[in-house]
């Protein structure tokens, strides 16, 4: 165990908001010299936001940052760099059009003047040799020609290169996500050596084994708050999962719709993900709410889009019977027509029914809009107002009205509750259950584990495959998280 020294960085009561979302809700943490802190939490727990605050790329709305005992007033990227705080971001931050050496120069303002290219090459090559022996990367390689794993290696090695500014803390946000087992272990043993030499690390990973095996201390975050922190030896896998999950059960708001007769109901969707190698497939029947769970971007949206396409054109491995409607999750890009009124936004999926001759009948459009305003509770004085006059939650309601007001028997929902307040959510859950009782089928991708309680059946995704298939009575948060973190690779 390395000797743990003075506190290097301390965050005190840090808050950061994105609109109504509290990404960080009063976080207080401290990192000491020569310490490796593991940071875990579910999607949207606020880990990445916290790292951006530490790295100076995101400014907190509230709270203070203290580095080396000095409170920081004008904290910024360059300030963080002078203080020796580096960050390896989750999304790659290399310039693809530049060489490995040139990308190193970008990181170090002091590499300039005659011979800068030589010095940058030597610096990065030496560090790559140290971290990833046998890496096979040349400093003159252009980054876009490197495979994603090698890019990540370059990025990690670059963060540990030192020129004039000292190196005190390196934040690694999912540094092994694109590395294979061999290079991951090279990196992890390098991290342990570095920490032993007195440099601190903050290590974020979804692979709980990596966290448990390499951290001195573990911090667990949930909903923008630190829920627990302690020496790594006091944690095990199950305790981490429990702490991350938010187990305190909500009141059973879910009306248990008995699905004993599942087999006898009409089949609506049968789909197998492209990357699925075993025989598992997703099955959704009439009147069912089927949840798609797992970590973000592990193939859930891809499957929804594949089902959506399969409704109109033939597709291998996917059977869809009946018309389909999609409720987009990213409503600004994929959902609303920003120039149109609320009623036009609702009516677009049902134009065939709203038509009178060759034209859209304004009377029928208004009638449909009015019905849905009352049914789903869109708060507006006039449905002819522009859609942007609504709050985010009400815009989302309009998108639900578009799908539910259509003839679609199958409704696909792509994590539609992002950034929606609790009141609206409960109203919409109720409506979805109502519609399901009426015979509609829902495919519901959600990153919020609580929402899965509304589903009759849940499929957990990992790396583009279905890895678990849970009935309502088998569904627990622990099971979902456990399967999403399946370390199959």
């Amino acid at each position: 165990m390395p000797e743990i020294g003075n506190t290097i960085v301390k965050l005190d009561g840090v808050e950061r908001h994105f609109g109504a979302v509290r990404a960080l809700d009063g976080v207080t943490i401290a990192v000491k010299a020569g310490e490796c802190v593991g940071l875990v939490g579910h999607n949207g727990a606020g880990k990445s936001t916290l790292m951006h605050v530490l790295a100076g790329t995101g400014t907190p709305d509230q709270g203070t940052i203290t580095v080396g005992g000095e409170p920081q007033t004008a904290y910024s990227v360059s300030r963080a760099q002078t203080l020796g705080i580096r960050c390896v971001f989750q999304e790659l931050s290399l310039c693809p059009n530049l060489t490995v050496a040139e990308n190193t120069r970008i990181y170090h303002p002091s590499i300039r003047g005659i011979g800068w290219r030589r010095r940058a090459s030597d610096l990065i090559s030496a560090k790559l040799d140290e971290v990833f022996p046998g890496h096979g990367i040349s400093a003159s390689d252009i980054v876009q020609d490197l495979a994603i794993g090698k890019r990540q290696m370059v990025e990690v090695a670059r963060a540990f290169t030192v020129t004039d500014a000292p190196l005190r803390l390196v934040i690694l946000d999912e540094p092994t996500s694109s590395l294979d087992a061999h290079t991951s272990s090279q990196l992890l043993s390098f991290v342990r050596r570095t920490v032993a030499s007195g440099i601190s690390c903050v290590f974020i990973s979804h692979l709980l084994g990596e966290i448990l095996g390499n951290s001195d201390r573990i911090i667990v975050m949930r909903d923008g708050k630190v829920v627990t922190a302690g020496a790594a030896s006091t944690f095990n896998r199950n305790r981490l999962v429990t702490e991350m999950g938010g187990i305190e059960a909500e009141p059973a708001a879910v009306a248990a719709a008995a699905m004993a007769d599942r087999e006898s109901r009409k089949l609506r969707v049968r789909a197998r993900p492209v990357r699925q190698s075993d025989g598992r497939e997703l099955i959704a029947r009439e009147g069912e709410i089927v949840g798609l769970a797992g970590l973000a971007a592990h193939g859930q949206t891809d499957l929804l889009l594949a089902v959506f396409r399969a409704a109109t054109q033939r597709a291998a491995n996917i059977e869809v019977s009946g018309p389909v409607a999609l409720v987009a999750g990213d409503r600004q890009t994929d959902g609303i027509f920003a120039q149109w009124s609320i009623s036009e936004n609702i009516g677009i999926r049902s134009l065939a029914r709203l038509r009178k001759g060759l034209l859209i009948s304004p009377a029928r459009e208004d009638e449909m809009a009015a019905r849905w305003r009352d049914k789903i509770g869109i708060r507006t004085p006039d449905m002819h107002n522009n859609i942007l006059s609504l709050s985010g939650g009400n815009q989302q309601k309009a998108l639900f009205a578009r799908a539910l007001g259509s003839d679609a028997g199958i409704v696909l929902m792509d994590d539609p509750m992002r950034g929606v307040d609790v009141g609206t959510k409960l109203e919409v859950y109720e409506l979805i259950r109502d519609e399901a009782r009426g015979g509609r089928t829902f495919l519901w991708y959600t990153t919020e584990t609580d929402e899965l309680k509304n589903c009759d059946h849940v499929y957990v995704f990992h790396n583009g495959r279905i890895v678990a298939d849970l009935r309502r009575d088998e569904l627990t948060e622990e099971k979902v998280i456990q399967s999403s973190f399946a370390e199959s690779a």
Partner: protein, 331 residues
């Protein structure tokens, strides 16, 4: 906010042959501008062997220098993922200033040209700060420059300053002046943009602006630098043009906007991603000058059809390049 471990878990190892294939294709692509120039020169040589001589090249490439300079101006703007639709009328405006003010009243002339470069710098700042599409801003500016040019020189006329005429009329031994000038332009810009440490930052801003900003660099500064350089080379282009044609015309540079964009792309540059090649761009400009003006004359294409034929040659050349680069990208 989203935690996305990549679904491609174990792809850290690229095979060696693939890497070698990439290197070969990259090399071929880098040679492409030179190859197209050789092709056009050969065609001219076959059609008219006498053109391949000191005098022939001096004559044919006279207009290549202003086009090469305008192409370099465009290259700076394209490097940071923008496009300058005003460079042609800007060159025309500079030409009018050169043929009138700079000759009659050099101090005022210099002041006007420096102010025009300042306007370019300001446009860069405006585009960055207000996050405006450069196409719209520069399209608007193209009418401003055109209007100013017509105000300065309502009818073709004026005369280039004598020193400029002397410079552009140089007859160095053995190698024609336009070729020397093209080499100097290519080498200077290549060194500045591709080899210096700040040039790396400038190109990086086109490749991944977020990465540059996260490393603590000012994106405003990179944008202003690039637009200022575009202004400087636009001014050089206008002056070189008047030095070659000896008198001014408000519409003299109008074709340069498209020629400069085509030159950058033909030279191996791409519209986005900070991938540019100054040497390639100069070669591209030479190729286009020869293909678009001289080759057609030697092919006895009537003047009425030359403009249309120009456009077709442009499309063919760029389509050929796109084909080759697509094959190069499909690795």
């Amino acid at each position: 906010m989203t935690d996305t471990p990549s679904p491609t878990a174990s792809v850290a190892s690229a095979s060696v042959p693939a890497a070698r294939g990439i290197a070969v294709r990259r090399w071929l692509r880098a040679l492409l501008p030179a190859l197209s120039l050789v092709l056009v020169v050969t065609a001219i040589g076959v059609l008219n062997p006498r053109a391949i001589s000191y005098f022939g090249f001096s004559l044919m490439l006279g207009l290549a220098i202003p086009i090469a300079l305008a192409t370099i101006a465009q290259l700076f703007v394209i490097t940071v993922n923008d496009l300058d639709l005003s460079i042609g009328t800007f060159v025309g405006f500079v030409g009018c200033v050169t043929a009138t003010l700079l000759r009659d009243n050099p101090l005022v002339g210099i002041a006007v040209l420096v102010a025009a470069i300042g306007v370019y710098a300001g446009l860069g700042a405006l585009i960055h700060l207000r996050n405006l599409p450069s196409i719209v801003v520069t399209l608007g500016m193209s009418f401003v420059w055109q209007g100013l040019a017509i105000l300065m020189l309502p009818t073709p006329g004026g005369k280039a300053p004598d020193w400029l005429l002397t410079l552009m009329g140089l007859k160095p031994p053995f190698v024609p002046f336009p070729i020397i000038a093209a080499i100097v332009i290519a080498v200077v810009v290549h060194f500045g943009l591709m080899r210096t440490s700040y040039g790396t930052i400038l190109r990086g801003a086109g490749g991944n602006a977020a990465a540059i900003e996260r490393a603590g660099w000012s994106l405003l500064r990179t944008k202003v630098t690039m637009f200022t350089l575009a202004g400087v080379f636009g001014v050089l282009s206008g002056m070189a043009l008047i030095g070659t044609t000896t008198s001014g015309d408000a519409n003299i540079g109008n074709g340069y906007t498209l020629l400069s964009i085509a030159g950058v792309i033909l030279g191996g540059g791409e519209f986005v991603g900070g991938r540019v090649s100054p040497i390639g761009a100069v070669l591209g400009a030479l190729t286009l000058t020869l293909a678009a003006t001289q080759l057609l004359g030697f092919m006895h294409i009537p003047p009425d059809w030359q403009v249309g034929a120009n456009g077709i040659i442009l499309i063919i050349v760029l389509a050929a390049r796109a084909l080759l680069s697509r094959r190069g990208d499909a690795v």
